[in-house]
Symmetry: C2
């Protein structure tokens, strides 16, 4: 029986971090680096956290995010042997729902609408693996958690870590 | 530990059937009755199935659906003892995503965004119960399936059936 993998969107396949840094610079003229974000909760890492959070509600924020390098190729490869589900906690930002759907449709056309999940709490999702950048999801998942490196989680020392899609691919292919 | 219930939206808490009948009459002047829909796949039961399906993509279709009688009171009651999740296969109609979110926010304000799931295939949802009108969801769910009566499923003879929210409430309170 094919195993299943739930894959988070933000900072796992959609490069929200770069998008946020770029938009913050464009809107407020302050250049924040990825190094500045290291080990800090995402929105608190910007000089003005309230202003940073406001950007998440700006139309187009999620629609125009760049793709995390290697994600497209890795997902196509993984689909050969696994059932792949995209599972995003999109419900926190309801404005993001159609944007995230359109983004997936454009950049990951091999993912069927049947395999997309927009939710809040991920603890009722039952897949063999969960690839995610947040402990709030990984700590409570029913399958094997895999921590995908993002600036905010660099100091986390629990769960198996992968730093990029090449490492994720190697881990999952070896485990199958 | 509190048990969890996944509750479908269409024809379980949102009266899509009545909405569809009313809109079909308004648009095409043909009055279809609930009796006409008995035992037939939903869109095939209308005189012009293609025209009927088109209505589902009309802006506002999901936003203005009436509430299934008793659903509001029942969910508030169930929340006292269960973790309630609204789980809708909304991904088939991406236009419905913001409409369904807004509809829930208006009519079921006690349901947090953390407890809303919009998905395609429900087989990765793991809750103790699933209340749904479709066998495609109930047949593969991980918990106990509960069939909520809708015109299209009146002839189905598998799974425990409830005909309305009063019956659902009695069943779940007795089982807890």
């Amino acid at each position: 029986m094919r195993k299943s993998i739930a894959i988070d969107m933000d900072n796992v396949i959609a490069d929200i971090e770069s998008n946020w840094i770029n938009l913050y610079y464009k809107e407020y003229g302050v250049k924040v680096t990825k190094q500045d974000l290291h080990g800090k909760p995402e929105d608190e890492a910007f000089p003005d956290p309230v202003a940073a959070r406001r950007l998440l509600y700006q139309p187009g924020f999620f629609r125009h995010a760049p793709i995390v390098p290697g994600a497209q190729e890795a997902l196509i490869k993984l689909q050969e042997n696994f059932d792949i589900y995209i599972v995003s906690a999109a419900m926190e930002f309801p404005n993001s729902l159609p944007e995230k759907y359109d983004w997936l449709h454009e950049h990951f056309p091999s993912i069927s609408w049947k395999n997309i999940v927009f939710c809040g709490d991920k603890r009722i999702i039952d897949t063999d693996y969960l690839i995610d950048d947040h402990l709030k999801n990984l700590d409570f998942c029913k399958g094997t958690p895999i921590l995908f490196t993002a600036s905010h989680n660099v100091n986390v020392d629990r769960h198996k870590r992968v730093n990029n899609w090449q490492e994720a691919l190697e881990l999952l292919i070896a485990a199958n």
